[in-house]
Protein backbone atom coordinates (compact mmCIF):
# COMPACT_ATOMS: atom_id res chain seq x y z
CA UNK A 1 0.00 0.00 0.00
CA UNK A 2 2.84 2.37 1.01
CA UNK A 3 4.71 1.89 -2.24
CA UNK A 4 1.53 2.32 -4.17
CA UNK A 5 0.79 5.57 -2.27
CA UNK A 6 4.27 6.95 -2.98
CA UNK A 7 3.91 6.08 -6.64
CA UNK A 8 0.55 7.81 -6.82
CA UNK A 9 1.92 10.88 -5.13
CA UNK A 10 4.80 10.95 -7.65
CA UNK A 11 2.45 10.75 -10.59
CA UNK A 12 0.25 13.46 -9.12
CA UNK A 13 3.29 15.69 -8.66
CA UNK A 14 4.36 15.04 -12.26
CA UNK A 15 0.84 15.79 -13.35
CA UNK A 16 0.70 19.11 -11.50
CA UNK A 17 4.19 20.05 -12.67
CA UNK A 18 3.31 19.23 -16.27
CA UNK A 19 0.19 21.35 -16.09
CA UNK A 20 2.15 24.25 -14.68
CA UNK A 21 4.79 23.97 -17.43
CA UNK A 22 2.08 23.61 -20.05
CA UNK A 23 0.39 26.82 -18.96
CA UNK A 24 3.77 28.60 -18.96
CA UNK A 25 4.35 27.46 -22.56
CA UNK A 26 0.94 28.73 -23.55
CA UNK A 27 1.35 31.99 -21.60
CA UNK A 28 4.69 32.72 -23.25
CA UNK A 29 3.22 31.63 -26.59
CA UNK A 30 6.22 29.39 -27.13
CA UNK A 31 7.37 29.66 -30.82
CA UNK A 32 7.85 25.89 -31.17
CA UNK A 33 4.35 25.36 -29.86
CA UNK A 34 2.99 28.07 -32.15
CA UNK A 35 4.62 26.53 -35.21
CA UNK A 36 3.07 23.15 -34.49
CA UNK A 37 -0.37 24.62 -33.82
CA UNK A 38 -0.24 26.73 -36.98
CA UNK A 39 0.77 23.77 -39.15
CA UNK A 40 -1.99 21.63 -37.63
CA UNK A 41 -4.60 24.23 -38.42
CA UNK A 42 -3.23 24.80 -41.93
CA UNK A 43 -3.27 21.09 -42.76
CA UNK A 44 -6.69 20.50 -41.24
CA UNK A 45 -8.39 23.52 -42.82
CA UNK A 46 -6.95 22.64 -46.23
CA UNK A 47 -8.05 19.01 -45.90
CA UNK A 48 -11.56 19.95 -44.77
CA UNK A 49 -11.84 22.50 -47.59
CA UNK A 50 -10.86 19.90 -50.19
CA UNK A 51 -13.22 17.36 -48.62
CA UNK A 52 -16.08 19.91 -48.76
CA UNK A 53 -15.40 20.84 -52.39
CA UNK A 54 -15.58 17.15 -53.31
CA UNK A 55 -18.03 15.87 -50.71
CA UNK A 56 -20.82 18.46 -50.65
CA UNK A 57 -21.77 18.12 -54.36
CA UNK A 58 -21.55 14.31 -54.21
CA UNK A 59 -23.70 14.25 -51.05
CA UNK A 60 -26.23 16.59 -52.70
CA UNK A 61 -26.34 14.47 -55.86
CA UNK A 62 -26.92 11.31 -53.81
CA UNK A 63 -29.74 13.06 -51.94
CA UNK A 64 -31.54 14.18 -55.11
CA UNK A 65 -30.81 11.75 -57.93
CA UNK A 66 -32.37 8.31 -58.21
CA UNK A 67 -30.27 5.90 -60.25
CA UNK A 68 -29.48 2.19 -60.16
CA UNK A 69 -26.80 1.50 -57.57
CA UNK A 70 -27.50 4.68 -55.59
CA UNK A 71 -28.18 2.68 -52.44
CA UNK A 72 -24.84 0.95 -52.86
CA UNK A 73 -23.04 4.30 -52.97
CA UNK A 74 -24.88 5.47 -49.85
CA UNK A 75 -23.88 2.31 -47.97
CA UNK A 76 -20.32 2.62 -49.28
CA UNK A 77 -19.85 6.20 -48.09
CA UNK A 78 -21.45 5.41 -44.74
CA UNK A 79 -19.00 2.53 -44.34
CA UNK A 80 -16.04 4.68 -45.38
CA UNK A 81 -16.86 7.11 -42.58
CA UNK A 82 -15.18 4.62 -40.27
CA UNK A 83 -12.02 4.24 -42.37
CA UNK A 84 -9.06 3.29 -40.13
CA UNK A 85 -6.59 6.21 -40.36
CA UNK A 86 -3.55 3.94 -40.43
CA UNK A 87 -4.93 2.11 -43.45
CA UNK A 88 -5.55 5.43 -45.23
CA UNK A 89 -2.04 6.50 -44.23
CA UNK A 90 -0.61 3.31 -45.68
CA UNK A 91 -2.54 3.65 -48.96
CA UNK A 92 -1.57 7.31 -49.40
CA UNK A 93 2.03 6.38 -48.49
CA UNK A 94 2.04 3.73 -51.23
CA UNK A 95 0.56 6.19 -53.73
CA UNK A 96 3.05 8.93 -52.95
CA UNK A 97 6.19 6.87 -52.38
CA UNK A 98 8.83 6.94 -55.12
CA UNK A 99 7.64 3.60 -56.46
CA UNK A 100 3.98 4.65 -56.34
CA UNK A 101 1.89 6.13 -59.16
CA UNK A 102 2.08 9.65 -57.70
CA UNK A 103 5.73 9.38 -56.65
CA UNK A 104 6.78 12.01 -59.19
CA UNK A 105 4.97 14.63 -57.17
CA UNK A 106 7.53 14.15 -54.37
CA UNK A 107 4.89 14.89 -51.76
CA UNK A 108 5.77 12.22 -49.21
CA UNK A 109 6.82 13.70 -45.83
CA UNK A 110 5.41 17.10 -46.73
CA UNK A 111 2.31 18.88 -45.39
CA UNK A 112 0.79 18.22 -48.83
CA UNK A 113 0.82 14.48 -48.17
CA UNK A 114 -0.82 15.04 -44.79
CA UNK A 115 -3.52 17.17 -46.40
CA UNK A 116 -4.22 14.42 -48.94
CA UNK A 117 -4.44 11.74 -46.24
CA UNK A 118 -6.77 13.82 -44.09
CA UNK A 119 -8.92 14.77 -47.10
CA UNK A 120 -9.30 11.05 -47.91
CA UNK A 121 -10.43 10.42 -44.34
CA UNK A 122 -12.81 13.37 -44.15
CA UNK A 123 -14.45 13.25 -47.62
CA UNK A 124 -16.64 10.16 -46.89
CA UNK A 125 -17.82 11.84 -43.67
CA UNK A 126 -18.84 14.96 -45.58
CA UNK A 127 -20.53 12.92 -48.35
CA UNK A 128 -22.49 10.62 -46.04
CA UNK A 129 -23.65 13.28 -43.59
CA UNK A 130 -24.48 15.77 -46.37
CA UNK A 131 -26.56 13.10 -48.07
CA UNK A 132 -28.49 12.49 -44.82
CA UNK A 133 -29.11 16.18 -44.11
CA UNK A 134 -30.13 17.02 -47.68
CA UNK A 135 -32.34 13.93 -48.09
CA UNK A 136 -34.53 15.21 -45.25
CA UNK A 137 -34.79 18.67 -46.79
CA UNK A 138 -35.33 17.23 -50.26
CA UNK A 139 -38.28 15.21 -48.97
CA UNK A 140 -39.85 18.56 -48.02
CA UNK A 141 -38.93 20.37 -51.27
CA UNK A 142 -39.30 17.53 -53.80
CA UNK A 143 -42.88 18.26 -54.94
CA UNK A 144 -42.12 21.97 -55.24
CA UNK A 145 -38.98 21.25 -57.28
CA UNK A 146 -40.96 18.95 -59.58
CA UNK A 147 -43.83 21.40 -59.87
CA UNK A 148 -41.49 24.28 -60.73
CA UNK A 149 -39.39 21.99 -62.97
CA UNK A 150 -36.16 22.90 -61.21
CA UNK A 151 -33.16 21.20 -62.89
CA UNK A 152 -31.38 18.80 -60.54
CA UNK A 153 -28.19 20.84 -60.34
CA UNK A 154 -30.16 23.95 -59.40
CA UNK A 155 -32.08 21.87 -56.85
CA UNK A 156 -28.74 20.69 -55.42
CA UNK A 157 -27.50 24.27 -55.04
CA UNK A 158 -30.82 25.26 -53.45
CA UNK A 159 -30.65 22.41 -50.95
CA UNK A 160 -26.99 23.14 -50.11
CA UNK A 161 -27.76 26.82 -49.56
CA UNK A 162 -30.96 26.31 -47.58
CA UNK A 163 -29.31 23.66 -45.39
CA UNK A 164 -26.11 25.65 -44.93
CA UNK A 165 -26.51 25.98 -41.18
CA UNK A 166 -27.23 22.28 -40.72
CA UNK A 167 -24.24 21.54 -42.95
CA UNK A 168 -22.00 23.47 -40.56
CA UNK A 169 -22.38 20.56 -38.18
CA UNK A 170 -21.33 18.21 -40.98
CA UNK A 171 -18.21 20.29 -41.65
CA UNK A 172 -17.56 20.35 -37.92
CA UNK A 173 -17.66 16.54 -37.80
CA UNK A 174 -15.06 16.46 -40.59
CA UNK A 175 -12.94 19.07 -38.82
CA UNK A 176 -13.06 17.08 -35.58
CA UNK A 177 -11.96 13.93 -37.35
CA UNK A 178 -9.09 15.71 -39.14
CA UNK A 179 -7.66 17.77 -36.30
CA UNK A 180 -7.62 14.85 -33.87
CA UNK A 181 -6.22 12.33 -36.33
CA UNK A 182 -2.73 10.93 -35.80
CA UNK A 183 -2.38 7.54 -37.55
CA UNK A 184 -2.46 8.70 -41.15
CA UNK A 185 -0.48 11.93 -40.80
CA UNK A 186 2.35 10.27 -38.91
CA UNK A 187 2.77 7.69 -41.70
CA UNK A 188 2.72 10.12 -44.64
CA UNK A 189 4.15 13.15 -42.80
CA UNK A 190 6.82 11.42 -40.77
CA UNK A 191 6.53 13.85 -37.84
CA UNK A 192 9.58 15.84 -38.98
CA UNK A 193 10.36 18.78 -36.72
CA UNK A 194 9.61 22.17 -38.33
CA UNK A 195 8.25 20.42 -41.44
CA UNK A 196 5.43 17.99 -40.73
CA UNK A 197 5.05 17.98 -36.96
CA UNK A 198 1.46 18.67 -36.01
CA UNK A 199 -0.26 18.67 -32.63
CA UNK A 200 -1.30 15.05 -32.56
CA UNK A 201 2.01 13.63 -33.77
CA UNK A 202 3.89 15.93 -31.39
CA UNK A 203 1.74 14.78 -28.48
CA UNK A 204 2.50 11.15 -29.35
CA UNK A 205 6.22 11.87 -29.65
CA UNK A 206 6.57 14.04 -26.54
CA UNK A 207 4.59 11.56 -24.47
CA UNK A 208 6.86 8.73 -25.55
CA UNK A 209 9.90 10.89 -24.71
CA UNK A 210 8.44 11.71 -21.30
CA UNK A 211 8.11 15.46 -21.98
CA UNK A 212 4.62 15.61 -20.67
CA UNK A 213 4.56 19.41 -20.37
CA UNK A 214 4.75 20.06 -24.12
CA UNK A 215 2.41 17.15 -24.82
CA UNK A 216 -0.09 18.50 -22.31
CA UNK A 217 0.21 22.05 -23.60
CA UNK A 218 -0.53 20.81 -27.10
CA UNK A 219 -3.40 18.74 -25.79
CA UNK A 220 -4.85 21.80 -24.09
CA UNK A 221 -4.56 23.83 -27.31
CA UNK A 222 -6.27 21.02 -29.19
CA UNK A 223 -9.11 21.02 -26.67
CA UNK A 224 -9.43 24.79 -26.78
CA UNK A 225 -9.57 24.82 -30.59
CA UNK A 226 -12.22 22.11 -30.56
CA UNK A 227 -14.17 24.04 -27.94
CA UNK A 228 -13.91 27.33 -29.81
CA UNK A 229 -14.94 25.84 -33.15
CA UNK A 230 -17.87 23.98 -31.59
CA UNK A 231 -19.02 27.05 -29.70
CA UNK A 232 -18.84 29.20 -32.84
CA UNK A 233 -20.85 26.69 -34.86
CA UNK A 234 -23.43 26.30 -32.10
CA UNK A 235 -23.81 30.09 -31.88
CA UNK A 236 -24.27 30.43 -35.64
CA UNK A 237 -26.82 27.62 -35.71
CA UNK A 238 -28.74 29.02 -32.76
CA UNK A 239 -28.96 32.41 -34.40
CA UNK A 240 -30.04 30.80 -37.70
CA UNK A 241 -32.73 28.83 -35.84
CA UNK A 242 -34.04 32.03 -34.28
CA UNK A 243 -34.28 33.47 -37.79
CA UNK A 244 -35.99 30.29 -39.06
CA UNK A 245 -33.28 29.68 -41.63
CA UNK A 246 -32.07 26.42 -40.02
Amino acid sequence: MGIHFRKSRGIMQDFAHSFSLAFQLLWRFDPALGEIVFLSLRVTFAAVLIACVIGLPIGAALAILRFPGRGLFVVLFNTLMGLPPVVVGLLVYMLLSNAGPLGVLQLLYTPGAMIIAQAVLVTPIIVALTQQVLSDLNAEYADTFRSMVVPWHKAAVTLLWDARYALLTVVLAGFGRAIAEVGAVIIVGGNINHVTRVMTTAIALETSKGDLALALALGLVLLMIALAVNAAVMAVRASARRMAYA
Binding site: Y141, D143, S147, M148, K154, W161, M243, A244, Y245
Partner: protein, 254 residues
Protein backbone atom coordinates in the same frame (compact mmCIF):
# COMPACT_ATOMS: atom_id res chain seq x y z
CA UNK B 1 -52.40 52.42 -69.14
CA UNK B 2 -52.55 48.77 -68.04
CA UNK B 3 -55.84 47.47 -66.70
CA UNK B 4 -55.38 46.98 -62.91
CA UNK B 5 -57.89 44.14 -62.98
CA UNK B 6 -55.66 42.09 -65.25
CA UNK B 7 -52.38 40.47 -64.28
CA UNK B 8 -50.04 41.58 -67.07
CA UNK B 9 -48.48 38.30 -68.03
CA UNK B 10 -45.73 38.67 -70.63
CA UNK B 11 -47.77 37.20 -73.44
CA UNK B 12 -50.79 39.08 -74.74
CA UNK B 13 -52.07 40.69 -71.54
CA UNK B 14 -55.83 40.85 -71.33
CA UNK B 15 -56.22 37.97 -73.74
CA UNK B 16 -56.53 34.35 -72.91
CA UNK B 17 -53.21 32.98 -74.06
CA UNK B 18 -53.53 30.28 -76.70
CA UNK B 19 -51.97 27.63 -74.53
CA UNK B 20 -54.54 28.16 -71.80
CA UNK B 21 -57.31 27.41 -74.25
CA UNK B 22 -55.78 24.10 -75.19
CA UNK B 23 -58.11 21.35 -74.02
CA UNK B 24 -57.11 19.36 -70.99
CA UNK B 25 -58.49 15.94 -71.73
CA UNK B 26 -58.76 13.12 -69.21
CA UNK B 27 -59.81 9.64 -70.25
CA UNK B 28 -60.40 6.65 -67.96
CA UNK B 29 -58.08 8.09 -65.33
CA UNK B 30 -57.42 5.87 -62.33
CA UNK B 31 -55.00 6.01 -59.45
CA UNK B 32 -54.18 3.27 -56.97
CA UNK B 33 -51.98 3.76 -53.89
CA UNK B 34 -50.98 0.86 -51.64
CA UNK B 35 -53.74 -1.27 -53.12
CA UNK B 36 -56.40 1.38 -52.45
CA UNK B 37 -58.28 2.80 -55.42
CA UNK B 38 -58.16 6.58 -54.99
CA UNK B 39 -59.53 7.56 -58.41
CA UNK B 40 -61.39 5.44 -60.91
CA UNK B 41 -62.60 5.99 -64.47
CA UNK B 42 -62.38 9.78 -64.53
CA UNK B 43 -63.35 11.35 -67.86
CA UNK B 44 -63.06 15.11 -68.03
CA UNK B 45 -62.75 17.79 -70.71
CA UNK B 46 -61.60 21.28 -69.76
CA UNK B 47 -61.69 23.18 -72.99
CA UNK B 48 -61.41 26.85 -72.09
CA UNK B 49 -59.74 29.00 -69.49
CA UNK B 50 -62.72 29.33 -67.18
CA UNK B 51 -62.08 29.14 -63.45
CA UNK B 52 -62.87 25.55 -62.55
CA UNK B 53 -63.56 24.51 -58.96
CA UNK B 54 -63.14 20.89 -57.91
CA UNK B 55 -65.37 19.93 -54.99
CA UNK B 56 -66.19 16.82 -53.04
CA UNK B 57 -66.08 15.40 -49.53
CA UNK B 58 -62.84 14.43 -47.79
CA UNK B 59 -61.19 11.43 -49.38
CA UNK B 60 -62.94 11.97 -52.71
CA UNK B 61 -59.58 12.19 -54.49
CA UNK B 62 -59.52 15.93 -55.29
CA UNK B 63 -55.90 16.58 -54.31
CA UNK B 64 -54.74 13.43 -56.10
CA UNK B 65 -56.61 14.51 -59.24
CA UNK B 66 -54.88 17.88 -59.10
CA UNK B 67 -51.44 16.26 -58.72
CA UNK B 68 -52.20 13.90 -61.61
CA UNK B 69 -53.31 16.78 -63.85
CA UNK B 70 -50.09 18.64 -62.99
CA UNK B 71 -48.01 15.55 -63.72
CA UNK B 72 -46.68 15.16 -60.19
CA UNK B 73 -48.10 11.64 -59.96
CA UNK B 74 -48.17 8.99 -62.68
CA UNK B 75 -51.67 7.64 -63.40
CA UNK B 76 -52.32 3.95 -62.65
CA UNK B 77 -54.79 3.87 -65.54
CA UNK B 78 -56.04 6.13 -68.32
CA UNK B 79 -54.52 9.14 -70.01
CA UNK B 80 -54.19 12.86 -69.53
CA UNK B 81 -53.58 15.01 -72.58
CA UNK B 82 -53.01 18.74 -72.71
CA UNK B 83 -53.54 20.03 -76.20
CA UNK B 84 -53.23 16.47 -77.44
CA UNK B 85 -49.87 16.04 -75.76
CA UNK B 86 -48.92 13.70 -72.90
CA UNK B 87 -47.82 15.45 -69.72
CA UNK B 88 -44.09 15.82 -69.24
CA UNK B 89 -41.63 18.31 -67.78
CA UNK B 90 -42.19 20.64 -70.73
CA UNK B 91 -45.93 20.82 -70.16
CA UNK B 92 -45.29 21.21 -66.42
CA UNK B 93 -43.08 24.21 -67.17
CA UNK B 94 -46.21 25.98 -68.40
CA UNK B 95 -48.16 25.13 -65.28
CA UNK B 96 -47.83 25.97 -61.59
CA UNK B 97 -49.28 24.64 -58.38
CA UNK B 98 -50.04 26.06 -54.95
CA UNK B 99 -50.15 23.32 -52.33
CA UNK B 100 -52.50 23.19 -49.38
CA UNK B 101 -49.53 23.44 -47.03
CA UNK B 102 -47.16 25.90 -48.70
CA UNK B 103 -43.59 24.71 -49.03
CA UNK B 104 -41.35 27.75 -48.87
CA UNK B 105 -37.60 27.88 -49.12
CA UNK B 106 -35.61 28.73 -46.00
CA UNK B 107 -34.97 32.23 -47.23
CA UNK B 108 -36.52 35.66 -47.11
CA UNK B 109 -39.81 36.43 -48.84
CA UNK B 110 -37.98 38.32 -51.58
CA UNK B 111 -35.49 35.49 -52.11
CA UNK B 112 -38.36 33.00 -52.45
CA UNK B 113 -39.88 35.15 -55.18
CA UNK B 114 -36.53 35.82 -56.82
CA UNK B 115 -36.06 32.06 -57.13
CA UNK B 116 -39.07 31.89 -59.46
CA UNK B 117 -37.91 34.99 -61.37
CA UNK B 118 -34.48 33.41 -61.94
CA UNK B 119 -36.09 30.16 -63.02
CA UNK B 120 -38.37 31.88 -65.55
CA UNK B 121 -35.61 34.08 -66.97
CA UNK B 122 -38.20 36.34 -68.60
CA UNK B 123 -37.43 40.06 -68.76
CA UNK B 124 -40.99 40.93 -67.73
CA UNK B 125 -40.79 38.79 -64.60
CA UNK B 126 -39.26 41.62 -62.56
CA UNK B 127 -42.21 43.90 -63.37
CA UNK B 128 -44.59 41.10 -62.50
CA UNK B 129 -42.72 40.61 -59.23
CA UNK B 130 -43.40 44.16 -58.08
CA UNK B 131 -47.06 43.95 -59.17
CA UNK B 132 -47.61 40.71 -57.28
CA UNK B 133 -45.83 42.02 -54.19
CA UNK B 134 -48.19 45.00 -54.24
CA UNK B 135 -51.31 42.97 -54.98
CA UNK B 136 -50.64 40.38 -52.29
CA UNK B 137 -49.35 42.92 -49.73
CA UNK B 138 -45.90 41.36 -49.50
CA UNK B 139 -43.80 44.54 -49.65
CA UNK B 140 -43.60 45.01 -45.89
CA UNK B 141 -42.66 41.36 -45.47
CA UNK B 142 -39.98 41.30 -48.18
CA UNK B 143 -36.98 40.86 -45.91
CA UNK B 144 -38.58 38.55 -43.37
CA UNK B 145 -37.78 34.82 -43.32
CA UNK B 146 -40.57 33.05 -45.22
CA UNK B 147 -40.97 30.41 -42.54
CA UNK B 148 -41.77 32.98 -39.86
CA UNK B 149 -44.80 34.29 -41.74
CA UNK B 150 -48.36 33.55 -40.66
CA UNK B 151 -50.37 30.92 -42.56
CA UNK B 152 -52.14 33.55 -44.67
CA UNK B 153 -48.91 35.37 -45.49
CA UNK B 154 -47.22 32.10 -46.44
CA UNK B 155 -50.06 31.18 -48.75
CA UNK B 156 -50.00 34.64 -50.39
CA UNK B 157 -46.27 34.22 -50.93
CA UNK B 158 -46.78 30.74 -52.41
CA UNK B 159 -49.40 32.16 -54.80
CA UNK B 160 -47.12 35.03 -55.86
CA UNK B 161 -44.26 32.58 -56.46
CA UNK B 162 -46.49 30.33 -58.57
CA UNK B 163 -47.80 33.27 -60.65
CA UNK B 164 -44.26 34.50 -61.31
CA UNK B 165 -43.89 31.36 -63.42
CA UNK B 166 -46.60 32.91 -65.68
CA UNK B 167 -48.44 29.59 -65.87
CA UNK B 168 -51.00 28.74 -68.53
CA UNK B 169 -52.71 26.55 -65.93
CA UNK B 170 -52.63 27.25 -62.22
CA UNK B 171 -53.59 24.45 -59.84
CA UNK B 172 -54.53 25.36 -56.27
CA UNK B 173 -55.20 22.81 -53.55
CA UNK B 174 -57.36 24.43 -50.88
CA UNK B 175 -55.23 27.58 -50.81
CA UNK B 176 -57.55 29.38 -48.39
CA UNK B 177 -58.06 26.65 -45.80
CA UNK B 178 -57.86 28.23 -42.30
CA UNK B 179 -57.06 31.71 -43.61
CA UNK B 180 -58.57 34.94 -42.32
CA UNK B 181 -61.07 36.79 -44.54
CA UNK B 182 -58.54 39.49 -45.54
CA UNK B 183 -56.07 36.92 -46.88
CA UNK B 184 -58.89 35.05 -48.62
CA UNK B 185 -59.99 38.27 -50.31
CA UNK B 186 -56.46 39.10 -51.51
CA UNK B 187 -56.01 35.60 -52.90
CA UNK B 188 -59.39 35.62 -54.65
CA UNK B 189 -58.76 39.04 -56.20
CA UNK B 190 -55.40 37.85 -57.47
CA UNK B 191 -56.96 34.71 -58.93
CA UNK B 192 -59.48 36.87 -60.79
CA UNK B 193 -56.63 38.97 -62.19
CA UNK B 194 -54.68 35.88 -63.22
CA UNK B 195 -57.79 34.50 -64.87
CA UNK B 196 -58.28 37.81 -66.70
CA UNK B 197 -54.60 37.67 -67.71
CA UNK B 198 -55.24 34.39 -69.47
CA UNK B 199 -54.44 31.72 -66.92
CA UNK B 200 -56.68 28.70 -66.56
CA UNK B 201 -57.34 28.25 -62.83
CA UNK B 202 -58.23 24.90 -61.27
CA UNK B 203 -59.06 25.22 -57.60
CA UNK B 204 -59.89 22.61 -54.99
CA UNK B 205 -61.99 23.97 -52.15
CA UNK B 206 -64.40 22.83 -49.46
CA UNK B 207 -65.68 26.34 -48.95
CA UNK B 208 -69.09 26.59 -50.64
CA UNK B 209 -69.13 30.39 -50.35
CA UNK B 210 -65.76 30.64 -52.03
CA UNK B 211 -66.86 28.21 -54.73
CA UNK B 212 -69.95 30.34 -55.40
CA UNK B 213 -67.81 33.48 -55.61
CA UNK B 214 -65.18 32.03 -57.92
CA UNK B 215 -66.44 29.06 -59.87
CA UNK B 216 -67.40 29.27 -63.52
CA UNK B 217 -67.70 25.51 -63.74
CA UNK B 218 -67.61 22.83 -61.06
CA UNK B 219 -66.22 19.31 -61.06
CA UNK B 220 -67.69 17.14 -58.30
CA UNK B 221 -65.91 14.03 -57.08
CA UNK B 222 -67.25 11.38 -54.76
CA UNK B 223 -65.32 8.30 -53.61
CA UNK B 224 -62.84 8.59 -56.45
CA UNK B 225 -65.43 8.98 -59.20
CA UNK B 226 -66.49 12.07 -61.10
CA UNK B 227 -70.21 12.38 -60.59
CA UNK B 228 -70.78 15.80 -62.13
CA UNK B 229 -69.13 18.47 -64.26
CA UNK B 230 -71.36 21.43 -64.99
CA UNK B 231 -71.56 25.21 -65.14
CA UNK B 232 -71.41 26.83 -61.73
CA UNK B 233 -74.99 28.16 -61.99
CA UNK B 234 -76.45 24.75 -62.84
CA UNK B 235 -74.33 23.05 -60.18
CA UNK B 236 -75.42 25.35 -57.38
CA UNK B 237 -79.05 25.80 -58.51
CA UNK B 238 -79.88 22.31 -59.68
CA UNK B 239 -77.11 19.78 -59.16
CA UNK B 240 -77.59 16.80 -61.42
CA UNK B 241 -76.07 14.07 -59.26
CA UNK B 242 -77.63 12.92 -55.97
CA UNK B 243 -74.16 13.05 -54.36
CA UNK B 244 -73.69 16.72 -55.27
CA UNK B 245 -77.23 17.51 -54.05
CA UNK B 246 -76.51 15.81 -50.73
CA UNK B 247 -73.14 17.60 -50.42
CA UNK B 248 -74.67 21.01 -51.08
CA UNK B 249 -77.43 20.25 -48.60
CA UNK B 250 -74.78 19.63 -45.97
CA UNK B 251 -75.54 15.95 -45.61
CA UNK B 252 -72.77 13.58 -44.62
CA UNK B 253 -71.61 11.59 -47.61
CA UNK B 254 -70.15 8.15 -47.01
Amino acid sequence: MPDPRVLPFPTSPGEARPAARLPLTVRGLGFVADGTRILDGIDLDLTDNRLTVIMGPNGAGKSVLLKLLHGLLPPSAGRILWGGRELDRHTRQRQAMVFQKPVLFRRSVRANLQFAVNLKKSPEATDLLSILMDDLHLNDLADRPARLLSGGEQQRLALARALLLTPDILFLDEPCANLDPASVLLIEETLHKARAGGTKVLLVTHDLHQARRLAEDVVFLHRGRLTEHSDADSYFDAPASPEARAYLAGQILL
